[in-house]
Amino acid sequence: MYRSNVLVCGGTGCTSSNSLKIVEVLKEEIKKNGLEKEVNVTTTGCFGLCALGPIMVVYPEGSFYSMVQVADIPEIVEEHLLKGRIVTRLLYQETVEDDTIKSLNKTAFYAKQKRVALRNCGVIDPEKIDDYIAMDGYAALGKVLTEMKPEDVIQTILDSGLRGRGGAGFPTGLKWKFAAANDADQKYVCCNADEGDPGAFMDRSVLEGDPHAVLEAMAIAGYAIGASKGYIYVRAEYPIAVKRLKIAIDQAHEYGLLGEDIFGTGFDFDIQLRLGAGAFVCGEETSLMTSIEGKRGEPRPRPPFPAVKGLYRKPTILNNVETYANIAQIILNGADWFASMGTEKSKGTKVFALGGKIEHTGLVEVPMGTTLREIVEEIGGGIPGGKKFKAAQTGGPSGGCIPAEHLDIPIDYDNLLEIGSMMGSGGLIVMDETTCMVDIAKFFLEFTVDESCGKCTPCRIGTKRLLEMLDKITKGQGTLEMIDEMEDLCHYIKANSLCGLGQTAPNPVLSTLRYFRDEYVSHVVDKKCPAGVCKDLLEFSIDKDKCVGCGLCARNCPVNAITVTDYIAPNKKKPAYEIDHSKCIKCGACIDNCRPGAVYKG
C-alpha cells in the first residue's frame, strides 16, 4: 500500500512537452527524500486537457498540477509529498477555491463529460496488464467465452445501438451479423487505427492510454463472428501507440488472454500489428485491407463488401479504435445501459479532439446529443482573446463547417449530416473571425488532392480542378460563374468517385458555400478577403494618426517598403510612416512589430 499515488500523463501531447523527463526526476527526488516505499508514480495515458500539459495528479488529494516544469519537481516532492502541503501556486487554477481544492470532475472541462471509451485513459498505467485487469479488464471476454453464444454477443451489440465511430456511423452489430453469417475456413477481425484526419487524435489517445481495451474487444468480435486472426492497422506516425500495443499484445499472450485455448474454452485468437506508411486513403476500409496485404493501398469497388470478401478475399470485419473501446463496457453493463445514453438514433458517447481557436485544446468525451455550444463554450472554455466564434469544422477533409447559427444543435450522426457536415472520427476544429472560409476549403482540398490515390478519374482530376478554381478565387481572379461551376463539379465528384475519400472530398467546399457564400462573393466581386487571410487580396496600411513614429516597422520590413513621411499627428512627437504598396510583399512583419497597433490590413 502506498500513501500517495502520483499520476503523470504519458500521452503524446504531454511527452512532447517533456513529461517523461518529469517522471524520471520525480522518481529521483522521491528516492532522495526516502519516500519510495510510500509514494507510487504511474505514467498514464491522456487526461484530455492537453492545453495544460504536462499534467500531474496526486492522489488521495486529487491535486491537479498543470504545465509542470522539471524545475518544479523538487518543490512538489518536498512540500506536497513529504510535508503534505499542496503547492497551490502550481495547481490548475480552476481547481483552486479559496483554501480548498475542487475535484477535477467539477471543473468546467470535465463536469459535462461522460467517459466510457476513455474511462481508463489517465487512470491506469497502459503498460501494465494488471492495471487493466484491476479495472474489470478481460472480464467481458471471460463472460462472453463462458456464458454467451456468439449470436447473443451480436444481439447485445445490436441492441446497444452502437454505431461505427470511424465516421460513417454504420451499426456495428449489423456488420458483425453479416460477417458471422458467411461461412469460410478463415475470417478476420481488423482494427482501423489509421487515424488520418488532420486535427484528430482520439484513437491515438485510446491506444496510448488503454491498449488492452482494443485487444479485448477484438477477441470478443473474433468469437462473435468466428474469426481466429486479427490485424491492427496503425499509423507509423504514432510511435508511442505502436510501442504500447506491442507491449500489450505480449502481455496478453503471457497471461493466456490471446493465443490458443483462451480461458480453457478452446477459443483461439491472435492479433498482429501492421504499420501504415502515411497514406490517408488507407483509412478507407477496402484500401486498408489492400494495404495489410502489403500492396499499394488503393480502394476496390463494393460490393462485395468486406463482410463477404475482405482481407485476402475472406469475410472480414473492420471497426475503428473508439468503437472497440466501447465493446467490453457494453458486454459488462448491458445493452440497455449503453442505449440509455445519447439520442434516439445515436447511442452512447462520442470522443472529440478539440482544437484550433479554443482555450482548452484537448480530448473530450460527451454523450451524443450534447450541443456544440456546450462543447465549445463550457467544456472548451470559449475562444481565446475575446474573438468571435465563426465556425466549427467536424469530420476533417470529409466533413464540413458548422456556423454559429447551428451552435445549439444536438450533435449526433443524423443532425450533422442534415446541416451538411458529418460526425467523422471526431476532430472538432474551432475557427474564429480571423479564419477565412475560402482559405480553409482550399486547405482541405490541397490535402485531398495530395492524398487522392489516383485510381479513379473523378477524384484524381476533379479535386485538382476544384483546387485550381479555389486558388484563383483566393488570388482575386475568380468569377461568379466559377462559383457555380465549382458547385456543379462538387456534386459530380461526390456522385462518381470510387471510395469514401472522393465521395466526401467536396464537402468542405459545399458546406462553406452553403453557409459562407458571401465570403466567396467578396473574394470574387470586391476582391477582398474579409478575414484578412488571403495575401493576394490584402493591403497593409498605416493609420498615420495612431503612428508614433518609432520606425520599428521600417526596420523590420524585409523589402524596405516603409518610409517616413512629413506628417506629424496631433499629440505625437515624431512623423508618421507609410507603406509603399508597389514594394510591399505582404509578409506581415510590420503588423507584428507595431506596438500602438497603427498598422492594419484589409
Partner: protein, 165 residues
C-alpha cells in the same frame, strides 16, 4: 505527390546488406511482406534507393515493379536521403490555423530549400508533415525527435542556430 528521386550515389555497406537479408528471411512466408520489409529496409538504410528496392524484390520473389509501386505510393517511404537534422513542420488543421504555413516559409527562406529537399551539405532537410497529434502545442515543428511547440515566426532562426554549430 511526385517523389524526389536522389542523384546521390548508393553507398550501402555489407553489414546493412546482411541486416536486410535477415529481415527478408523473417518475412518470406508472410503473404503481406512487402510493406513491413520496406519499412525495416528504410530503418537500415535511411531511405529506399533503387539498389535496395531491387534487393527486396529479388529476396521476396516479387516483381520490382510491385516494390517500386509500394515505395512510391506511401509518403513515408523516401527515395532520397534525409539531412542530418530533418525538420518537419506540422501542417495539420490546428497548426495551420495558428500560422504554421508562415513558419514553413520562414524555414524555407533561412535554409534556402523547399519542402521535401535537403541542403547541399546534407545537414538539414525540410518536410511538411501531416498532423503529429500535438494540437495542444500548435503550431508545432519537429527537428528529428525534438518537438518545438507554441511557435512564432521569430522563434525559427533561434531553433536553426541551435543545430548549426
Amino acid at each position: 505527390m511526385q517523389k524526389k528521386i536522389s542523384s546521390i550515389p548508393f553507398s550501402g555497406t555489407p553489414e546493412q546488406e546482411a541486416q536486410l537479408k535477415e529481415t527478408i528471411a523473417r518475412y518470406i512466408d508472410d503473404p503481406g511482406a512487402v510493406m513491413p520489409v520496406l519499412q525495416e529496409a528504410q530503418d537500415i538504410y535511411g531511405y529506399l534507393p533503387y539498389e535496395v528496392q531491387k534487393m527486396v524484390a529479388e529476396g521476396l520473389g516479387v516483381p520490382l515493379e510491385e516494390v517500386y509501386g509500394v515505395a512510391t505510393f506511401y509518403s513515408q517511404f523516401a527515395l532520397s536521403p534525409k539531412g542530418k537534422y530533418n525538420i518537419s513542420v506540422c501542417l495539420g488543421t490546428a497548426c495551420y490555423v495558428k500560422g504554421s504555413g508562415d513558419i514553413l516559409s520562414r524555414l524555407s527562406d533561412i535554409l534556402g530549400i523547399e519542402a521535401e529537399e535537403c541542403t547541399a551539405d546534407g545537414k538539414f532537410s525540410l518536410t511538411a508533415c501531416r498532423c503529429i497529434g500535438a494540437c495542444g502545442l500548435a503550431p508545432v515543428i519537429m527537428v528529428n525527435e525534438d518537438v518545438y511547440g507554441r511557435l512564432t515566426v521569430e522563434d525559427v532562426q533561434g531553433i536553426i542556430d541551435k543545430y548549426n554549430d
